[in-house]
């Protein structure tokens, strides 16, 4: 038999009898499963998820669900086709053995695979003090269960809500609190809301929006301690500026932690910023060698990006999960010549205080910003971010129709400042410093991060299996 025929035979055999395991039963995992079946994979498909729920959509959890309009268990994702999978829900994966090609589950089961997709995403960063975190009235928001509990607490009309961290989700929650007529304080360690993702110039606008809507916004402060009453319900928060707040609900909105622990000891390039992979979603091992049978998609993936000097880009964006899942699914059942790259132009949205904030590109990759259209005063404008004379990102406030124009410029590395389209040009189109925080200063963890050129750089670390003597754990970075 000729080699080509043999390979074609193998592909047919794999598509008929192969075993694929997807760990992670959310947006990326579901869309990957659908893509696998679309591509003609008829083998066995197992989807493992630590939550008991079937795949659901998360963006509504901080908006229409908290507001009380939509029930927390009513954000189930639409199904595009039958996936004919074995769903193992409510049981977490706890280990990966690459030698025997098995995923270990929390209940002791071993699930064998020929190809594996890692889509375990992120979880919310818990309140730093474990004892205070157990106080009644202290919340984080990531899952639908979280959202249901927080919604109930807000519906009970608490005296004051404290939100710690003014990233997108923290700001959205503050907006909902005001729409519900609740007194809300937002405490942010940085100089303004959203600075990690959008810089200080836009952060100042976001701060003004919050204050205009009656949010008690405190910037440049951290919350140092929470105190409960005799019943174990949170009642007071101590801020780093010496002030004390009476609060009934506290939401820690401190960014996310990537769910990589179950991969410890597997010898993959995993760590703080997630699981390193190539542009085709194939995972790197700890030596930077690409694997053939392990793929990754969604929030937990980080891949080199052509638009950003081939730095690894970690992206907690909705469409990164959708498109990454689909590309991973395609590549898992395709031969080399048919593989596709997942090179998304990062895009996000956030609805808060009646304003639709949308963005494309990677703002923190730039250092300058220019308001190109509309007016800041009206909170209806477009702005572009630049680096060394080329456009790298854009953001709009209630000006989303223009975003596509800027996206096209970013994709071809057009000059910065960019020529504004059509009418509605801003008065003063002079680039100014965008005021992104020094990446070394700890602040709210932004949901888009450039993490360097090395698969193991910026916090990927090698945690060998237990047989190694104490202290042998070395940091590869």
């Amino acid at each position: 038999m000729k080699t080509a025929a043999l390979v074609a035979d193998l592909v047919t055999e794999f598509k008929t009898h192969g075993r694929i395991v997807i760990v992670g039963a959310s947006l990326a995992g579901l869309r990957a499963a659908e893509a696998l079946r679309d591509e003609g994979f008829n083998g066995s498909l197992t989807i493992i998820g630590d939550e008991k729920h079937e795949p659901y959509d998360r963006p509504p959890l901080s908006k229409q669900v908290l507001k009380g309009w939509v029930r927390a268990d009513h954000t189930k994702l639409p199904r595009m086709r039958k996936v004919d999978a074995e769903w193992r829900l409510g049981v977490a994966a706890t280990g990966l053995d690459r030698q025997t090609k098995q995923v270990r589950l929390a209940n002791g089961d071993q699930v064998p695979f020929d190809r594996l997709l890692i889509a375990t995403g992120v979880r919310s960063r818990p309140w730093f003090n474990p004892k205070e975190a157990t106080l009644e009235g202290v919340f984080t928001l990531r899952t639908s269960d979280d959202s249901g509990r927080l919604q109930a607490a807000l519906a009970a009309k608490p005296g004051r809500v404290l939100i710690v961290g003014a990233g997108f989700i923290g700001s959205e929650m503050a907006s909902v609190c005001r729409e519900l007529g609740l007194a809300v304080t937002v405490a942010e360690r940085a100089e303004a809301p959203l600075v990690g993702a959008l810089g200080g110039v836009i952060g100042d606008i976001a701060a003004a929006m919050q204050r205009d809507h009656g949010v008690d916004l405190r910037t440049g402060v951290s919350v140092e301690a929470l105190e409960g009453d005799a019943n174990g319900h949170v009642r007071r928060a101590k801020l780093s500026d010496g002030t004390t707040l009476d609060v009934d609900v506290v939401v820690a909105s401190l960014g996310s932690i990537r769910n990589t622990e179950w991969l410890d000891g597997a010898g993959l390039a995993t760590g703080f910023w997630g699981v390193a992979c190539d542009a085709g979603c194939r995972v790197f091992d700890i030596n930077g060698v690409v694997t053939d049978s392990i793929f990754v998609a969604g929030d937990i993936a980080r891949a080199p990006h052509a638009l950003y000097e081939y730095q690894f880009l970690a992206l907690e964006h909705w469409d990164n999960a959708v498109f990454g899942g689909r590309v991973a699914g395609h590549n898992m059942v395709s031969l080399e010549a048919d593989r596709r790259p997942h090179l998304p132009l990062p895009a996000f949205w956030s609805g808060q205080f009646g304003v639709n904030i949308k963005g494309v590109g990677v703002g923190p990759f730039g250092d300058e910003i220019v308001i190109t259209q509309g007016s800041i005063k009206d909170r209806r404008f477009a702005a572009a971010y630049g680096r060394r004379g080329r456009i790298v990102a854009a953001v709009t406030f209630n000006h989303g129709k223009w975003l596509e124009y800027y996206g096209a410029l970013i994709e071809r590395s057009a000059p910065f400042p960019p020529p504004p389209p059509g009418y509605d040009q801003a008065g003063d189109m002079k680039p100014i410093p965008a005021r992104f925080p020094d990446p070394r200063v700890p602040t709210g963890v932004p949901d888009v991060v450039l993490t360097g050129h090395d698969p193991n750089e910026r916090g990927a670390e090698y945690r060998p299996k237990k047989r190694d003597p104490v202290g042998a754990t070395k940091h590869a970075a």
Binding site: D57, P59, P60, K63, Q64, W69, V70, H74, T75, K76, L77, P78, R79, M80, R81, K82, W318, D319, A347, F348, W349, G351, F353, G354, V355, N356, K358, R380, N398, G400, K401, L403
Partner: protein, 70 residues
């Protein structure tokens, strides 16, 4: 039924809102809010709203709750 709206694609034209007013709402000028799992009786409304979207941002399920073709 189940829907999801690709809010990256959505440009806030809001053509959809009057066609399924209990499912789709505007929060401010262009931020769209929606009920991801509206009652099945609203399917015709939602399909009309989806068809009206100039940028095809409304994604409607192709399977019903029993996992059969909707």
């Amino acid at each position: 039924m189940r829907i999801v709206i690709d809010l990256n694609r959505c440009q806030g034209y809001a053509q959809c809102v009057p066609l399924a007013p209990t499912v789709l709402k505007l929060n401010g000028e262009e931020a769209l809010m929606y009920d991801p799992n509206p009652d099945d009786s609203l399917r015709q409304q939602v399909l009309r709203a989806a068809a009206s979207c100039p940028v095809q941002a409304i994604i409607v399920d192709r399977l019903d709750e029993k996992g059969e073709k909707a």
